[in-house]
Symmetry: C2
């Protein structure tokens, strides 16, 4: 099969114009139709997904990946997530700012869809539906490229979505999938700046790096974090232990999971052994700096290697380092954080404020788990990505972050003097 990406871009652009015009009611009706079709077409979808999983098993793919690939028992949840998007307010059309200049010129900014999104994701077929729903709600067309392992599942899901769009009177080409596992198409997509307005990679560090280095379209980079919690001398240590436990073990694989703790030297002798004992029973192993290592002799604690402070663990490993105060903690974070999620555990609000000001991360936490850096947890209702770059949006991106604005300038024959 030969895919013409320019043609896809053109039809996506045309569809985006139609979608930008659609009312909230029309878009919501389409979303409900999609949710319903995920139910009525479940058998067909699961048959394709099952065949793909069987095929993957013959290629000795690991259990974690097989689990991510599977839709079994999940379609109902995915459909409900789409129904939840229906309930969210439509950001399109919102007046951001309005003023009348001294000359009588009326100036406002109106929120509009971005246009065409390019989303590249990995072996999670549920992302197909998730991204399509958020795109439709915000009036954007989307061109997706899913992981090759789930190409068949993504293809059938997009068919279902496109049928529901047509049934709802919206253009099917608002949701398109590059139905080919050839990676060359990713490179082509990244150069399609005439038709695609933003690239959103959903995956690991290598994918983000590839996009940043090869795209002529603005890329939302993120999704990778080396996350720290600093335990201050004044911290409530019971609370600190609870937060560290949650940040490390509640789910260790996402980008907002904890990677290292920095412990004030005054409390380190009593606190570090408690951390090791408590988290150790949950299977956590530890990489300690020499100062921390001397405080605890335990087979689960090894000396940290030179690259360990720059490693996103995504597993039950935790770095432990002793620091002599908040400024040393900040220095370590500035050197090793990827500006995703970093926090302080303290009862001293002046220290907290200092930490907030100095740590340049997309989300800075005080007495709370880094795992809370998530659109749902922070009240956005949904999340398309977590950005760690500085432009457009930082941290969790919800519906509003999938929009842009246009200036509307109304006069009565106003001219420039």
């Amino acid at each position: 099969m030969t895919i013409n990406l320019v043609e896809m871009g053109k039809t996506a652009r045309a569809a985006s114009r139609q979608l930008a015009r659609a009312s909230t009611a029309q878009k919501n009706a389409a979303l409900l139709a999609i949710a319903d079709c995920l139910g009525s077409e479940a058998e067909r979808i699961l048959a394709v997904n099952d065949a793909e999983l069987n095929d993957a098993r013959t290629r000795q793919i690991g259990d974690a990946l097989l689990d991510r690939m599977s839709l079994k028992g999940r379609l109902g949840g995915i459909a409900n997530d789409v129904r939840d998007v229906v309930k969210l307010p439509d950001p399109v059309g919102e007046i951001i700012e309005q003023r009348t200049m001294d000359t009588g010129l009326r100036v406002s900014r109106r929120r509009t869809p971005i246009g065409v999104l390019g989303v590249i994701y990995e072996a999670r077929p549920n992302v197909t539906v998730d991204v399509a729903a958020l795109s439709i709600k915000t009036g954007n067309a989307v061109i997706m490229r899913g992981g090759s392992e789930i190409m068949q599942s993504a293809t059938v899901l997009v068919q279902v979505i496109r049928d529901a769009l047509i049934a709802s009177g919206l253009p099917a080409d608002a949701v398109q999938l590059i139905e080919d596992t050839d990676r060359a198409y990713i490179g082509e997509l990244l150069k399609l700046h005439e038709y695609v307005d933003v690239i959103i990679p959903r995956g690991g560090a290598a994918l983000h790096k590839f996009c940043r280095e090869n795209s002529t379209i603005p890329v939302i980079t993120g999704g990778v974090g080396i996350c720290h919690l600093y335990v201050d001398v004044s911290a409530d240590l019971d609370m600190a232990l609870k937060v560290i436990d949650n940040a490390k073990t509640q789910r260790p694989s996402p980008c907002n999971a904890l990677d290292a703790i920095l412990v004030h030297e005054s409390i380190a002798p009593m606190f570090i052994p408690r951390v090791v004992e408590h988290l150790g029973t949950k299977g956590v192993t530890f990489r300690a700096d020499p100062a921390a290592r001397t405080l605890i002799h335990d087979e689960r604690v090894t000396i940290a290697g030179p690259n360990d402070w720059d490693t996103e663990w995504m597993s039950l490993v935790l770095g432990i380092r002793v620091v002599d105060g908040v400024d040393s903690a900040i220095e370590h974070i500035q050197a090793h954080s990827l500006n995703h999620s970093d926090g302080i555990l303290t009862r001293d609000m002046a220290q907290a404020e200092h930490f907030i000001n100095e740590v340049d991360s997309s989300a800075v936490f005080v007495n709370a788990s880094t795992r809370l850096n998530d659109g749902g947890q922070l009240g956005l209702g949904a999340e398309i990505a977590v950005s760690t770059q500085k432009l457009h949006a930082r941290g969790p991106m919800g519906l509003r972050e999938l929009t842009t604005y246009k200036w509307v300038i109304e006069g009565d024959g106003h001219i420039r003097m």
Copy 2:
């Protein structure tokens, strides 16, 4: 001379941390010091600029470029522009949004500097001061690369700025210039994503294209426009003539100057001759489609060639096309606009609203001149660039558009369930 851009990036990053911490008063004091030094060092600056101009004259550089290069008689105005930046509100630290979740978790977003800006500009030495002032005010460090023709002038201006920063207790490395005309350094700057957060090109289409195609850093593209005004059947034709005149002739070279008018067929026979007569006396020549051409026989009116509708004139040339209504006008604009500034002249507010919704430009005008698409005119107080892309900022970018935000999440031991 060999320039180490990585070293520049590192010192810029360090300076940006200091500047992010600076109070509004400190930043304003530095700006006033810069303004004063532009006065006290005027002789030295003008001597360098004069030598550079003399050298340029020997290379037969055109008068328009020589005029742009010259600082003579302009330093006072440049210093006053810096003083105007002092008066603008400091966006850094602003709380964008604040909420308390049902769980008691306190979530806010705080406005912060972006970090390090990379600004590439052409042969306008005044941009050196302009960009430095806006960067300092917003707490950003900046690495600049000016046009090779004005390298000496930019160098002496940056020296004056750095001295003023030091005298004000702020880091000199917040403002750095790549003092070498070798274009290879531009390519290097564009790949410095570890230290530079955004690239802002200030120049023509070729510069923007080069940046988009070679940068691994987010680029704010813009600064290029093919601008249209549609004259509706219901337009007040006296007003329309006044607005078109202003948009075309008040200053024809900037990106927000008018390039083509689209005239409703019902009024074309009486209106197009008026336009040609009125603007013709000011030296405007016209490229007309065949329908418009038949309405006026005048040596200043020639038939538009196939590329003329895709040309940014930047001179006293105006395209004229007859259309059969607002939708044909929109179609023409969608095909030929670069999404900078497009407008409608009408008394019919329903047509105006339709036009506003359908035209996807950074600024859409109703009964006003496209020349008003400018940060100063629209109340931003200053302007670093005009963006025509969709991400981060669209249209004129003021101080706020030189900031990002961080999420601040404060709990009492909050964890993820």
